[in-house]
Amino acid sequence: MSARALILAACVLLLAAVPPLAQLAGQLYYIDLIRRVMVFAVAAASLNLILGYGGLVSFGHAAYLGVGAYAVGILAFYGIHNGWLQWAVAIVASALVALVIGAISVRTRGIYFIMITLAFTQMLYYLGVSVEEFGGDDGMRLKVKSQFSGLIDLNDPVAFYYLVLALLLAAITLVHRIVHSRFGMVLRAAKSNEARSRAIGFSPYPYQLVAFVISGAICGLAGALLANHTAYITPAFMEWTRSGEILFMVILGGMGTAPGPALGAFALLIIEDLLAGWTEHWQIILGPLLVLSVLFFRRGLAGLLPGGGRHG
């Protein structure tokens, strides 16, 4: 195994070791914290597909977190607690929303695309705020977590933790397989040189749209996970500032690399956690930090690994 693979394997082992270690140290808080980071890592991995490999700068990915979360929340509200059903709906609903948003936005270029995806996510936020049944601005509690007929109890923090870890690894693997498949090669080619792609016979639009939908679907799953993690669902999940955070995770971690999104999620959320513990006004430090990272640290954390930031 290459040095890179060894390091990544070690990271996975470390993640798996968190619950027992935390229990030993009596610091159960870390199970919660790392689990939350991993949920966002799933979201970041989904964005990496279209951003890192597809070149689509979506500033609206939080929308799918919201759709997934609300799918779980709304079904639970009406007494449907079956996890299989809830999560399936979360994924499908997110895919559909991504299809609609994507069909309109993917046609556009560059800065328009950024603005439009941003506008749509905020639109969903306002929609969430205005629907009073589901709590409006305050959101709603998830009193009963998704039920999986005895297979796993999400109320058990450790079991839930391992589920999220497994899903994170699955998401990363899925994205990895996709970007190296025939489909993925076309997507990446379109990002690399659109004129050349058209000249050999590829129309980028269908590929980008499909990638957009897949990305939305995976992010919807992250939304379902988030709903269960926080046991509370609010429109704030869909705010554009959240989209910005996910975007930063992908960039900080190294876009267009497999471990990038996870690394970025960890980096950003841990830094936020540390700063928040230090001062109530942590954003005034985070803001400039982010600016500096954009100016001077563009390759991201994955670029520090042996093998560099190069995607295969």
């Binding site: 700068v57 560059g110 328009y112 006004h281 803001g287």
Partner: protein
């Protein structure tokens, strides 16, 4: 629902429209000329509002306070340009979006630290309170009417400067061919700083005007920024005319929608359904409008010919 009410809401829509225009004009100018996406434009709006309120309180004079506030915003804008944005001109849009996003976090927190998180009260001098009778039977707040007039005046002035003056010519030339303008001996850096400062001034002005009408609080910039982005997408990037048309359309549609959609719907569907569907639909109306415009004209209504 009487005609007078519709008329008043229409005026409100125009008032929102000119506020959006002031913001959109600055943003689209900066994008068109410097190819810079500045999400922190909303922060300048916020800074403008806060500085104005503070200066008015401090000097006791509305006019003097306003002037100081605007000056302050101009200075802040130029400082931001010199310190943080210069390096971004060469970078791609993603980098610009991310960096200016970081600036938003910074400014929101800065404002919260200095002024606190609760909304500030922005008072109007007595001579600006009161009402005017625009059409018989309808009294409209004087201040809002003034905002409309001022906003439209700025639009005309802007049009004049951009199309009829040497500075405007430089600006348009710079937009289509930077290297050429630089080769002609024009100091591009200075031009950029001036343009950015001007955009900041417009944003600060919008913020100052909006203070008494909307809430002055951290995060106020982002609320309006999203609407401004919708305006720019609808109107077309890089175009002042598009910014005006788009802003008026968005302002009017949004205001009328919020005011009349629920009662309108109530005429067709059951009242309880209209009760929830109305506000929901009203809140997303401008986005639906944007989607429709994009489906028909992906470049917006009046895209500037010269690419950024």
């Amino acid at each position: 629902m009487n005609l007078i009410l519709v008329f008043e809401q229409l005026l409100n829509g125009v008032q929102l429209g000119v506020t959006l225009f002031l913001m959109a004009a600055g943003l689209t100018l900066v994008f068109g000329i410097m190819n810079l996406v500045n999400l922190a434009h909303g922060s300048l709006y916020m800074v403008g509002a806060y500085l104005a309120v503070t200066a008015i309180d401090w000097t006791g004079s509305y006019l003097l306070g306003t002037l100081l506030g605007l000056l302050g915003t101009l200075v802040v804008g130029m400082l931001v340009e010199v310190i943080a944005l210069r390096t971004l001109y060469e970078r791609d849009h993603l980098d610009q979006v991310l960096a200016t996003f970081g600036l938003i976090l910074f400014f929101n927190e800065l404002v919260a630290m200095v002024w606190g998180r609760t909304a500030l009260f922005s008072s109007l001098p007595s001579y600006l309170q009161g009402h005017v009778e625009i059409i018989p039977g309808s009294i409209y707040p004087l201040y809002r009417a003034l905002v409309i007039v001022i906003g439209l005046a700025v639009a005309v002035a802007l049009w004049y400067v951009v199309t009829r003056t040497r500075l405007g010519m430089l600006i348009r030339a710079g937009a289509s061919n930077r290297t050429m303008v630089a080769a002609l001996g024009i100091n591009i850096r200075l031009l950029y700083t001036v343009v950015f400062g001007f955009g900041a001034l417009l944003a600060g002005f919008a913020g100052m005007l909006a203070g008494p009408i909307y809430n002055v609080q951290p995060g106020m910039g982002e609320l309006i920024l999203i609407q401004v982005l919708v305006v720019i997408v609808i109107g077309g990037i890089g175009s002042i005319r598009g910014a005006l048309v788009g802003a008026l359309i968005v302002g009017i549609v949004d205001t009328l929608g919020r005011a009349f959609l629920k009662p309108l719907l109530g005429a067709f569907i059951s009242p309880p359904a209209a009760e929830s569907a109305g506000p929901a639909l009203a809140s997303i109306l401008i986005y639906l409008l944007m989607a429709v415009v994009l489906a028909l004209r992906p470049e917006g209504l009046f895209p500037a010919k010269s690419g950024g």
